[in-house]
C-alpha cells in the first residue's frame, strides 16, 4: 500500500512512493498473500477521468481518518489517566482540529463521486448517458449559481450563529441540568 506519493499519469506509476508491503491485500482480503487487481487491469475507457484528484482526495480522507482515530485514542488514554484536562498541548491539538472533519467528509465525498466515474450505476449506465437531453446548459448554470448563492448565504448565517454561541461561552452547570428552560 502506498501511504504517500504523486501519481504520474504518463508512466502509470507513483513518484516518490512511501510503501508498506502487503497491507492493502490484508485490508481487502484478510491475508497478506492475495493479489489486489490494479487499475492497469482495466481498459482505459473505464478509468475515472481525473485520477490525480481521486488519488489525493482518497489519501486525504484516509489520512485524516487515521489521524482522528489516533487523536481520540491518545485523548481517551489521557482521560483514563486523569490528565486530559491539564495537558494543554492536547487541548490545542483538539481545538485546532475543528476544520479537519469538514475537509475529510468533502474529500470522502469526492472519492466516492470521482471514483465511480465513468459510471452512474456501475456496469449499467454511464454518466454521459444519464444527462437530461432537454435541460439546456443555461438552465444547469442558472441552478448551479443559485445553489452557490444559497449555500453562501447559509454559510454566513451559520457562521453568525456559531460565533454567537462561542462568544456566549459554555452553559453554567445549573442551567445545563435543565436545558429546556434555556431559550435563545
Amino acid at each position: 500500500m502506498v501511504l504517500m506519493g504523486q501519481p504520474n499519469y504518463e508512466t502509470e506509476t507513483i513518484d516518490n512512493p512511501l510503501v508498506v508491503n502487503n497491507v492493502l491485500s490484508f485490508l481487502i482480503y484478510g491475508t497478506t498473500a492475495a493479489e489486489v487487481e490494479g487499475l492497469d487491469h482495466f481498459p482505459r475507457d473505464q478509468w475515472p477521468s481525473t485520477l490525480p484528484l481521486l488519488f489525493y482526495s482518497y489519501h486525504i480522507m484516509v489520512g485524516l481518518g487515521t489521524r482522528f482515530g489516533a487523536l481520540m485514542g491518545i485523548a481517551a488514554l489521557l482521560l483514563w489517566r486523569g490528565k486530559l484536562y491539564s495537558s494543554r498541548w492536547m487541548q490545542w491539538l483538539i481545538m485546532l482540529s475543528w476544520p479537519l472533519p469538514y475537509i475529510a467528509t468533502t474529500a470522502g465525498w469526492m472519492t466516492a463521486e470521482i471514483g465511480r466515474q465513468p459510471w452512474l450505476v456501475y456496469g449499467l449506465i454511464r454518466t454521459a448517458q444519464g444527462s437530461s437531453t432537454h435541460v439546456s446548459a443555461g438552465n444547469s448554470l442558472f441552478t448551479l449559481l443559485g445553489f452557490l448563492g444559497m449555500y453562501t448565504v447559509l454559510s454566513l448565517l451559520w457562521v453568525i450563529v456559531v460565533y454567537n454561541h462561542i462568544r456566549s461561552g459554555p452553559l453554567v452547570n445549573d442551567q445545563a441540568a435543565h436545558p429546556q428552560t434555556v431559550t435563545t
Binding site: 432537454h134 442558472f142 443559485g146 454567537n164 431559550t183 435563545t184
Partner: protein, 348 residues
C-alpha cells in the same frame, strides 16, 4: 397492480397536501394573524414539532414515483427542471427561516426570518397548485417521452403551454386560498386568546375566496382538458368527489358559525381530499397527459415498473409507510391540544 400504485401515489400526495398544507397555510397568514412577538412564537410552536415530519410525505411520494413509474419520474423531473429547483430552494429557505429565527435575538433578524418564512410559504403553495394545474392540463410530451416547459409562453393552454398560463395560475390561486384557509383553521384550533379570535375572523374571509375560486376552478378544468370528464361520464359514482367538495365547503361554513374549530378543520381536510380525489379521477389511467402530439400521454401501462419491482416495493413500502404513520400519530398525540402560552420562544 398499476391501478393500485396510481392510487397509492395519489394517496401520498393527498396526505402531503392535508398535512403539510396546514403548516404552509400557517406560513401564508403568519404575518397578518400573528402580530406580536409572543403571538409569532406561539404560532411557530403550533407547527414547530410537526412541519418537518409533514414534508416526509412529499419526499416519500417522490420516491414512490421513482420506483413505481420510472418513466414518469424521469420525464417530469427533467421537464419541470427549473420549477422543481425553485421549489427546492423555497423549501430550504422556509425550513431555515423557521429553525434559525430563534437563534437570532435581534428584532431586525427576526423580522427578516418572519418575512422569509411567509414569502416562501406563499410561493411554495402557488407553485404546488400550479404544478397540479400542469399535471391536469397536460404537457407537450415529445416522441422520446421527454419535454421541457418554459416558465411561461403566451399564457394560453393549448399545444405550446408554459408552466404558467391562465389555468395553472388559477390552480395556484386555488391552492393559495384553500391552504391558507386550512392553515388558519389549524391555527384557530391550536391557539387561544387574541390569536384564536383573529384566526377565526380571517378564516371567514378566506372561506369566501375559496368558494369563488373553487367554483371557477371546476369548469376551468373541463375547459383546459375536456378529457377530464371521461371518467365521470362513464362512472356516475365519481360525481361523489365534486359533491363532497361542495359538501365540505358548506360544512365548513356551518361548523365555523357554530365555533367548532376541530370539526371545521376536519371539513377542510375533507374538502382538500375530495378536490384531489376528483383531480386524480379525472386523470386516471393517465399519469401525465400530453398536449400537441396525440397519443403521447404517459399512462400507467407505459410508465409502470417490472412486476418483480412492484411486488418487492409493496412489501418495503408498507414497512416504511407504517413507520412514517406511527411517527405522525405519536408526534400529533404528543402535541395534541392548544399550544401553551406560558413558555417563551420556539423550543431548542
Amino acid at each position: 397492480m398499476g391501478t393500485l400504485w396510481f392510487w397509492i401515489v395519489a394517496l401520498m400526495l393527498t396526505a402531503y397536501v392535508v398535512f403539510d398544507g396546514f403548516d404552509l397555510g400557517v406560513g401564508i397568514v403568519y404575518l397578518f394573524v400573528a402580530r406580536t412577538e409572543t403571538e409569532r412564537a406561539q404560532t411557530l410552536r403550533a407547527i414547530g414539532p410537526v412541519w418537518d415530519g409533514n414534508e416526509v410525505w412529499l419526499l416519500a411520494a417522490g420516491g414512490t414515483l421513482f420506483f413505481a413509474f420510472p418513466l414518469l419520474y424521469a420525464s417530469a423531473f427533467s421537464g419541470f427542471y427549473l420549477p422543481l429547483m425553485m421549489v427546492l430552494w423555497l423549501l430550504i429557505l422556509r425550513g431555515v427561516s423557521i429553525e434559525l429565527r430563534g437563534h437570532y435575538a435581534d428584532p431586525l433578524w427576526r423580522t427578516f426570518f418572519d418575512g422569509l418564512f411567509s414569502f416562501s410559504s406563499v410561493l411554495l403553495t402557488i407553485f404546488f397548485g400550479a404544478a397540479m394545474g400542469n399535471v391536469v392540463r397536460g404537457v407537450p410530451i415529445g416522441a422520446d417521452d421527454y419535454f421541457f416547459l418554459p416558465l411561461w409562453t403566451n399564457w394560453q393552454t393549448g399545444a405550446n403551454p408554459g408552466i404558467l398560463d391562465w389555468y395553472t395560475v388559477l390552480a395556484g390561486l386555488i391552492a393559495l386560498s384553500a391552504l391558507s384557509l386550512h392553515g388558519t383553521l389549524y391555527l384557530a384550533l391550536k391557539t387561544e386568546g387574541d390569536l384564536e379570535r383573529r384566526a377565526g375572523c380571517i378564516a371567514c374571509h378566506i372561506w369566501r375566496a375559496t368558494v369563488v375560486l373553487t367554483a371557477a376552478g371546476i369548469p376551468a378544468t373541463v375547459l383546459a382538458r375536456p378529457a377530464s370528464l371521461n371518467n365521470f361520464k362513464g362512472n356516475p359514482i365519481a360525481f361523489l368527489a365534486p359533491l363532497a367538495v361542495i359538501a365540505g365547503l358548506g360544512m365548513m361554513r356551518y361548523t365555523m358559525a357554530k365555533g367548532s374549530h376541530l370539526l371545521c378543520f376536519l371539513c377542510s381536510c375533507g374538502y382538500l381530499i375530495s378536490m384531489l380525489v376528483g383531480a386524480a379521477t379525472g386523470l386516471f389511467p393517465v399519469l401525465l397527459p400530453a398536449v400537441g402530439i396525440a397519443g403521447r400521454d404517459i399512462t400507467i401501462d407505459r410508465a409502470i415498473s417490472d412486476p418483480y419491482t412492484l411486488r418487492v416495493g409493496l412489501i418495503w413500502w408498507s414497512v416504511g409507510i407504517s413507520l412514517a404513520l406511527m411517527y405522525s400519530v405519536i408526534v400529533h398525540r404528543q402535541f395534541w391540544g392548544k399550544v401553551p402560552t406560558d413558555t417563551e420562544g420556539y423550543g431548542h
